[in-house]
Symmetry: C2
Subunit: 343 residues, 2 copies
């Protein structure tokens, strides 16, 4: 398979987004987001999305020239309407606004409605941590649902991720988790490969445990994470809906037919509480404290949340990023159609 | 077993706390907290704690006359020093301060260090929701640790609860969960009863799964919640430490010998984003949407987070609260010692 650098992917994505009618600024935000996701090993949120994005532009689900609108604003808060703009543009502009407010006021929170898919959620807390800020993102899905309430059989919630970033002297600590056991994509991969899935991932339409991935697509549901304590993942999924979808007015699950993300971003400036040096010293001491635990048999290292992605990134900086043949064909067809250079 | 009303328990607790030297105001806060915990079915955080509290006053771990001190303050934030006061007094006063700030500025966050045990964490988001505010509490434990990092064998984190309350037109939605599979107390109950515990609760000192509760007390650890996805519970536990313990300066796990809770309270006024009526209408619509899911076999109702405790409360309002004979003897000995009326 051909190998690409992140910059090559970003330049290619930039020219595609630009050709779809977006400004240089918007093209840069979306392209950087996609290439960064590839670099971190999240290929499902990388340049593979471009043909789908083009389709959604054609279907007028995305307006490549639109900008998010501020509906309501205070010195610490804002409610944004995504206004059919790129999800990554909306979320990054919301974050930039929140960063400014948090630096001025110690805290900020931005709610977003009418927002297209914002991509890999972890990108935003990482960007905030680079500015020295703590960032919590609750990001629901609406127009889609895969997860049943605890004890129920009907899909009501999306996989509803929570993403939290904490600045350190080195790379941020990043907790970036779905509140479901797995993302739907992983079940589909097993279905396509004609393989069973592990126990504890899904229920069939009657609420019985099953390892047959096809059951998900016949009225089944993905379980909230937590195993026997799945009521905890269920509770967290509801909080994501209540902050991301209800407070923002975006909507939740099948309460709306409109597909997208309802987002709630909270930013905290640690210097409102403590001198920055002292805070970062404590964070580093905590990292050392956690990592010095002996490991279980077969485990090489204690990893902090976010380290697996950072390790993938370091490896891919060296080896480059693989794109499979099928994806390459699609991307080059798209480039040809839009009259930009292929990859 | 004798049955008591919550008011009877509160009056008794009030007279004990008062006799230990606390003001009427402080006695009311602690007594109400304990009785409310009993009423919600959390007897482990109720009046059973009084003899332990008296001991900790004698050992000067609690100063029954102290008040928390504000160390650093902005219009949206504050850092509080618990100053050896009752944990419930410190946390409730922090909450009251945060409520005032959030009502003025849309958001607030209060960090607390040097704080004794704050009791049942869910009480604070409930109190905030009664004021119409969304409340997130990250509460770590320090001077104590039971949970190993994912893949590790050494206890590094406490059971580190997260508690989130959302106002509704009726009772608040309350997610109130430890980030470990179980609280340590449940393992101890099985040990005392000479019973095995379920698989997936603890590891022994070498990091092997075990169902023998004694293994926990011989260098074992409680697992972070999440089952096969325990790395998610681990990540959330770290966030509790980083917000509750690191940002506040309280400390985390065995990084300090001082026993207590490091607390981070975040408050959000929904009216900063949306008209209150409209917000509450949406919350009610969401509750209905979730609860209308059909149930799995053997499940009566879809419950929202917080409902099990509310149901316990409704039952106990009718039946009264049981106190077992051993607890009663201890409480009445304490009353006699302090010269107050027994129960």
């Amino acid at each position: 398979m051909p190998h690409y650098t992140a910059i090559e992917l970003q330049d290619f994505a930039h020219s595609i987004i630009n050709a779809l009618g977006s400004s240089e600024e918007q093209s840069k935000i979306v392209a950087e987001h996609l290439a960064t996701s590839n670099l971190a090993g999240h290929d499902s949120h990388g340049v593979i999305r471009l043909p789908q994005y083009r389709n959604h532009v054609n279907e007028e689900k995305i307006d490549p020239k639109a900008e998010p609108k501020i509906i309501k604003e205070t010195p610490t808060t804002a409610l944004l309407d995504g206004n059919k703009a790129w999800g990554q543009v909306v979320a990054q502009k919301a974050l930039d606004l929140g960063i400014k407010k948090a630096k001025n006021n110690g805290l900020s929170a931005i709610a977003i409605r009418n927002c297209y898919h914002i991509g890999r959620v972890g990108v935003y807390p990482i960007n905030a941590a680079k500015e020295g800020l703590i960032c919590q993102v609750h990001c629901n899905g609406h127009g889609v649902a895969r997860v049943a309430p605890w004890g129920g059989t009907d899909a009501k919630m999306a996989t509803n991720p929570i993403s939290v970033g904490i600045p350190t002297r080195e790379d941020p600590i990043l907790v970036d988790i779905t509140t479901s056991v797995v993302a739907e994509g992983k079940v589909r991969v097993s279905l396509n490969a004609n393989k069973d899935i592990p126990e504890g991932w899904i229920l069939d339409k009657t609420g019985q445990a099953t390892t047959n991935p096809a059951d998900l697509y016949e009225g089944g549901t993905i379980l909230p994470f937590g195993g026997a304590q799945g009521h905890k993942g269920y509770g967290l999924s509801l909080i994501v809906d209540l902050l991301g979808g209800v407070l923002s007015g975006a909507g939740c699950g099948f309460m709306t037919k409109k597909f997208g993300n309802g987002v709630f971003i909270q930013l905290t400036d640690p210097t409102a509480f403590e001198d920055q040096d002292e805070f970062l010293n404590r964070v580093e001491a905590y990292k050392t404290y956690i990592k010095e635990s002996p490991t279980q048999d077969g485990v090489d290292d204690i990893l902090l949340p976010g380290e697996p992605e950072l390790n993938a990134e370091k490896a891919r900086v060296k080896t480059g990023i693989d794109l499979d043949g099928g994806t390459l064909v699609q991307l080059n067809l798209l480039a040809e159609e839009l009259g930009v250079e292929g990859i």
